[in-house]
Amino acid sequence: MPKKLTTILVPVISVILGLLVGAIVMLVSGYDPVEGYLALWEGIFGDVYTLGGTVRQITPYVLAGLAVAFAFRTGLFNIGVEGQLIMGWLAAAYVGYAFDLPAIIHLPLAILAAAVAGALWAFIPGLLKAKLQVHEVIVTIMMNYIALHVSNAIIKSLTDGGEKTPAIHESASLRSAFLDNLTEYSRMHYGFVIALIMVVIMWFILERTKRGFELKAVGFNQNASEYAGMNVNKNIILAMVISGAFAGLAGAMEALGTFGNVSVIGGFTGIGFDGIAVALLGANAPLGVLLGATLFGSLKFGALNMPNVGIPVEIVSIIIALVIFFVASGYIIRVFLERMSKKKEAK
């Protein structure tokens, strides 16, 4: 069996297996799987409204996934995407409402602010890793909690004890009347363009630039990289910072697109953690992340439609988890496929 075909078949089979098990769960617990999956389908592709919503849901997942994937590719595990995203969200929302500028400056500035905020938040674990060899996993976990509390405190002080910032100005918004009309107010926004651009940028950095070459080399073998004249510490920090910038942009999607402000929140958004799943679904490759986010986001968004026919959303959570599980176990699927094709050859 050609290798390319297997790479495509494995995730497809994983999805099918996941849906199959999901159907069994529904049957066993007394729901109609056909109705459930119809609702899921409708919830994703039903009409322009749901399509718009699906795209909106996918957008931050792409960026969070890129953030995790970029770190992985450079030998780092960034569990701190969540915190970086929160800081990016805050920064974008702040720039969005606090300044009054023409859109051509305002929007890019707000987006940039988010990227910078995320990058700064990731700079700390990067620095500690590079200079003191502190394990980035712990620091990023801690930085998540710090981000949550700090963001809440800043919002309160910005708004004099309030619970959310004022809405961003039109000039900083990713929303547009055009998209609103087109998708019947699905809240779809131009963030998906940014996400797509970032997919290309990540690919470009890793696969085309000198810096990407170094980042990957350092991720694989620090000793050899040092031998080859690369600055290992600088590259570790840079890897973290770029990853954080992607995460910050995911926050910008929420600030400038979906919500238009930032609120005091009680718990994590979950997007950062889901980013880990997305990145791994996509095998840490830019295009893979895009596909992984599409799958993940579509299922998540479509799931919201299931309670409308009386089926609990948790079913979809189970399905998503199973799909990831099967994708992870791709080896066994590959073995199975090889056996199948061998049998065919034998005949």
């Binding site: 502190v134 909690y145 994708v327 080896y331």
Partner: protein
């Protein structure tokens, strides 16, 4: 509060807070020592917390005061079985262990919430009625200074956690099983050539992590929240991972790290009653535990090396 009062508050609270983390982190130690990264601890805790509460609610009339303890056992068992998924994927199916762990996290909460919905037609359970009692240890509690810190308001679960930490240390460092476990996580091929069954060792280790994570979750839900809902286990598993790394993959290190977290946490809470400190904006107290951890890591812990083979599936004959 006076200084002594602060001390009498902080020490027992730290130990109490640490109990679920200790168990779960030690679960992580077992798994990673054998070479299997277990980022699924959160999901395993969820499973334990869920099963513990459900069992407690269901069988409280049968087992009376013993219910919470039996719930721990059952929760450990359930999470142990659940962890086999991770074992199969990452050991036999050569899955990326991080992916499989993430799947465990997602699956754990999904299954638990779905089951709660099916069982109770609600998003969260009722509160349990029989909990772990806390008690004073006679005589010891009267020792000045030490008594009120360590022997007053003691939880059986804390004793259990510390006992398991010591036991884990003993098993990992003193028994043949432990020697093999560590060997398998450092250099599986070497272990294999010495006749150690790498696959079996890893399965056992992952299942132990499931059992301990489950017990940790059940301790949390039965001593702290009292019920199970979507927010019951909320990052505890990740804190346990942090404790495991902080403790350098050593059971007593993990014990110390978990207690350190507890200490930092209770310090931030005690802070709200100490004059002057009280006046600082609360956000500083809220982030204190996390900042302290980062400082501690940067200051004295420094580099920690994971078991060499962790994260890699063992494939015979591969170099």
């Amino acid at each position: 509060m006076s200084f002594l009062e602060v001390l009498y508050f902080i020490v027992p609270t730290a130990i109490f807070y640490a109990a679920p983390l200790i168990l779960t982190a030690i679960g992580g130690v077992f798994s990673e020592r054998s070479g299997v990264v277990n980022i699924g601890l959160e999901g395993l805790m969820v499973m334990g917390a869920f099963v513990g509460i459900v069992f407690n609610l269901t069988y409280v009339d049968t087992f009376g005061a013993w219910t919470p303890w039996i719930s721990l056992l059952v929760a450990g068992l359930a999470a142990g079985i659940f962890s086999i998924l991770h074992a199969v994927a990452s050991i036999s199916f050569r899955a990326d262990q991080t992916v499989s762990g993430v799947a465990i996290n997602l699956l754990g909460i999904a299954i638990a919430l779905f089951s709660v919905k099916m069982l109770y037609d609600k998003g969260q359970t009722d509160m349990i009625k029989v909990r772990f009692p806390r008690f004073n240890i006679p005589f010891l509690e009267d020792i000045p200074l030490i008594g009120p810190m360590f022997f007053k308001d003691v939880y059986g679960t804390s004793i259990l956690a510390i006992a398991i930490a010591i036991m884990a240390w003993f098993i990992i460092y003193k028994t043949p099983f432990g020697l093999r476990l560590r060997a398998v996580g450092e250099h599986p091929t070497a272990a294999d050539t010495m006749g150690v069954n790498v696959t079996k060792m890893r399965y056992i280790a992952v299942i132990i992590s499931g059992v301990l994570g489950g017990i940790g979750g059940a301790i949390y839900s039965q001593t702290i929240s009292g019920d199970f809902g979507h927010a019951t286990i909320n990052g505890q598993g990740f804190m346990a991972i942090a404790a495991m790394i902080f403790g350098k993959w050593h059971p007593l290190g993990a014990l110390g790290a978990a207690i350190f977290f507890g200490f930092a946490q209770s310090l931030s809470i005690a802070g709200s009653s100490i004059p002057y400190i009280k006046e600082i904006p609360s956000v500083y107290l809220h982030i204190l535990p996390y900042v302290l951890t980062i400082f501690a890591l940067a200051g004295f812990i420094g580099k920690a090396n994971a078991p060499k083979a962790s994260g890699q599936p063992y494939i015979k004959g591969k170099r």
